[in-house]
Amino acid sequence: MKRPTSLSDLSRRDPAAITRIDPAALAPLGPDTPPATHPTPAAPPVTSAAAVELDGTRALVLPNPQTPEEEQRLVEAFLSGLEKLFSREDNWTFLQPLVLSMEHCAHCQTCADACHIFESSGEEDIYRPTYRSEILRRLYYQYVRGGGLLSAWQHGSVELNWPMVARLAELAYRCNLCRRCAQTCPLGVDNGLVAHEIRKLFSQEMGIAPKELHAAGSMLQIKTGSTTGMNAAAAKDNLQFIDEEMREKTGLTVETPWDVEGADVLLIHNAGEVLAWPENPGAFGVILNAAGISWTMSSDIAGYDSVNYGVWYDDAQFARVARLHAQAAKKLKVKKIVIGECGHAHKALLVVADRLLAGDLEIPRQSFLTVLRDIVVGGRLRLDPSRNDFPVTLHDPCNTVRLMGIVEPQREIIRAVCPQFREMHPHGVDNYCCGGGSGFAIMSSNTFPQWRAEVSGRKKVQQILDAFADCLDPSVRKYVCAPCSNCKGQIRDTLAYHDIWTRHGILYGGLVELVVNAMADVKPGFIEWEWR
């Protein structure tokens, strides 16, 4: 029997991983689906004998101190960040919820049963939502609240050293921040928030964050305008090309308006859609034009990319990008911003940034889901649902559903256009994360993609297969609707990894594509049944 991983294991001086995924412990994927033939996460190539490992994969490039003095400096930088994390002036943004989560955990483990990563990993102790929180909690009592023998006895203690700090940094990136655990906590403790705050400590104090989120993410966005590196001119070119393709494909007039002052709607897409799934922004153009909506896109910096990775790891980066989004809208004097199919952009701009965008930056912000619901249910398009007469299931992106409460509009739309719609179980606010949340979907270094396909994305694959259990034969074409760019990317990767398209004929895509596919005025066959 495997030895439980204790909290003290995180401080182990031995740089080897403190746990490894046991392939035999991974949950089976679903009915009639053989176990994956792929290997489980393997040890990453070790670049230095001293590099500290957590679980055999890596999300971060961490410093590799060579002397005790270097180690000490890094530990001191961590402690300095820890002090700031609990300071009013440095962390006013989340101090109250963080302190509450530090003070009131009853160690009851209710949260563990809600966590898809813990469950899918075969119940690896380090993936318990409480594991990383308990490390931070002990450090909080030791170093922020004064510590002492009585405190150590009451709250427990942990040895603070560089291996512990390094492993904690990695461990902050083994949580999707989906907050399903917080939803089940009887005391309201939020272990997802704790992971978020640990990420902030490392980013804001030590400059440690996954390169996909920071250097090639939010920094690239505030430099060029988009996390894709696409500048405004390239974005316009791409959309022009997409419009042409849409005209050809649908037979309708499609033109994306740019920088129209006074338009009703400033539509902001996740710019990744433009490059990876051009049919998605294309479908938006088809629908908005057909419905006669006054809309525009903005070529201002960040005005054409709704992505805001800061919401996952860094308050400064988050606030900067949110401000750029609001500024782009204000400059065009539009009536409102509408966010396209991107879950985290919804939560970032509509919810979290709500208490940042005051005064000159205050502007109404709305989800595309309610706009589309009004168009579809309001009868502004001629629809022929029989064109979507294939089994469809819906993935609920955590950011728009559990964290924002947008549950029904997407269902009203999908019921109107998909006669064979069926729910996943559980769904709505009780849904499971796709496994790509909080940036995982775009993090591709080392063996991380393999880890998220095998572990964090496993539950969603099970749910998808269960939803289509009555029609798993690959000759029956099936569609997973994922109205979020990151979820879509993750579902694409996990379906490909587990060979689900070949085995079961399950394709993925967005919501607007289903609507356009059902439009009677559009040439039939908008959705192409080809893997991409």
Binding site: E89, W92, L95, V99, H104, Q154, T184, K223, P364, G405
Partner: protein, 308 residues
């Protein structure tokens, strides 16, 4: 001996009150955080609560009034407080132990309140004791409370020692806390059972406490139970067991705080103050070497500065 008992009860009551208020004030004085709600939010419109929906489901949600469904919120709270609904829903094995424990505590609080009210009424009326019915009710409730609380705490203690997942995450403090309940309340129960005929019981002790009658001869076992129970009450708000305070904030101030900024002057004023706070974060993309206001941090664009 009796003087010690009265003193410990009085000081403990004071510590409990001061520490509880202090903790609540500490939480309340934290700066207004960014929104971080979690759905379902029970004060949403009833037709939306059922599926966990929010006002974001309405078109142009920022227009018009946004009615707050207080009845829904109270119903949720009543169910949560009385039945520990979340635990029942998500961790049934623990609920089987925790629910009797909490129910026992609730009953003990009610019974203690009844005993004190009876003693106060007696003092005001100038005669000891009041309605027999009240006394009978309090005795029944108190007995049930003691049995349930001791059994529940013992059940939790055993569960923490035997369940592999709980065992790993349990600290010595957790075991001590549960043990404290078992011993303190168990001694009260044992003290009442072993009380010699004619010796003062809870009614006489409550009246004696209010009159500060130190001549009362309280049996040793019962006195020990009451002293420990009083110390336990003083200890609770100093620990994570003060979740009866924390939970108010985790729910009302975090999970359910969906107040939009639009037109809310209180939120706007809090934000304006927060933006004047000085950030000392040291990473290169946040800091320019000196503490800067959050307004300046947000307005900076380190990527473009790097480019220059």
């Amino acid at each position: 001996m009796t003087l010690v008992l009265y003193s410990v009860i009085a000081v403990s009551a004071l510590v409990f009150t001061v520490a509880s208020v202090r903790r609540a004030v500490w939480y309340a004085r934290h700066p207004l955080h960014l929104r971080w709600e979690l759905y379902p939010v029970p004060h949403e419109a009833p037709d939306r609560v059922a599926h966990g929906g929010s006002y974001f489901e309405t078109s142009e949600w920022w227009r018009g009034d946004r009615p707050v469904n207080r009845v829904g919120e109270w119903m949720f709270m009543a169910r949560e407080i009385a039945l520990l609904h979340a635990l029942r829903e998500y961790n049934r094995p623990l609920w089987y132990r925790s629910f009797p424990f909490h129910l026992g505590l609730y009953l003990l609080i009610v019974a203690t309140g009844g005993v004190l009210a009876d003693a106060v009424a007696g003092m005001i009326a100038g005669r000891p004791g009041a309605a027999t019915l009240l006394r009978g009710g309090c005795a029944a409730i108190g007995t049930a409370g003691l049995v349930l609380a001791v059994a529940g705490a013992a059940g939790l203690l055993i569960y923490r020692r035997t369940d592999p997942a709980l065992r790993v995450s349990t600290t010595p403090g957790d075991l001590f806390n549960l043990g404290f309940f078992v011993v303190a309340l168990g001694l009260v129960g044992a003290g009442l059972l072993a009380r010699p005929a004619g010796a003062p019981g809870v009614w006489a002790i409550a009246e004696g406490l209010l009159r500060w009658d130190v001549t009362l001869q309280v049996p040793g076992l019962l006195a020990a139970g009451l002293v420990l129970s009083a110390l336990l009450a003083a200890y609770i708000p100093l620990t994570h067991m003060s979740h009866f305070i924390g939970k108010y904030f985790t729910y009302h101030a975090v999970r359910w705080d969906d107040r939009p900024l639009g037109g809310n002057r209180k939120i706007a004023a809090a934000l304006a103050e927060s933006l004047t706070y000085r950030s000392r974060w040291a990473a290169g993309h946040v800091s320019s070497g000196q503490p800067a206001s959050w307004a300046d941090v947000v307005a900076a664009n380190p990527a473009r500065e790097e480019q220059r």
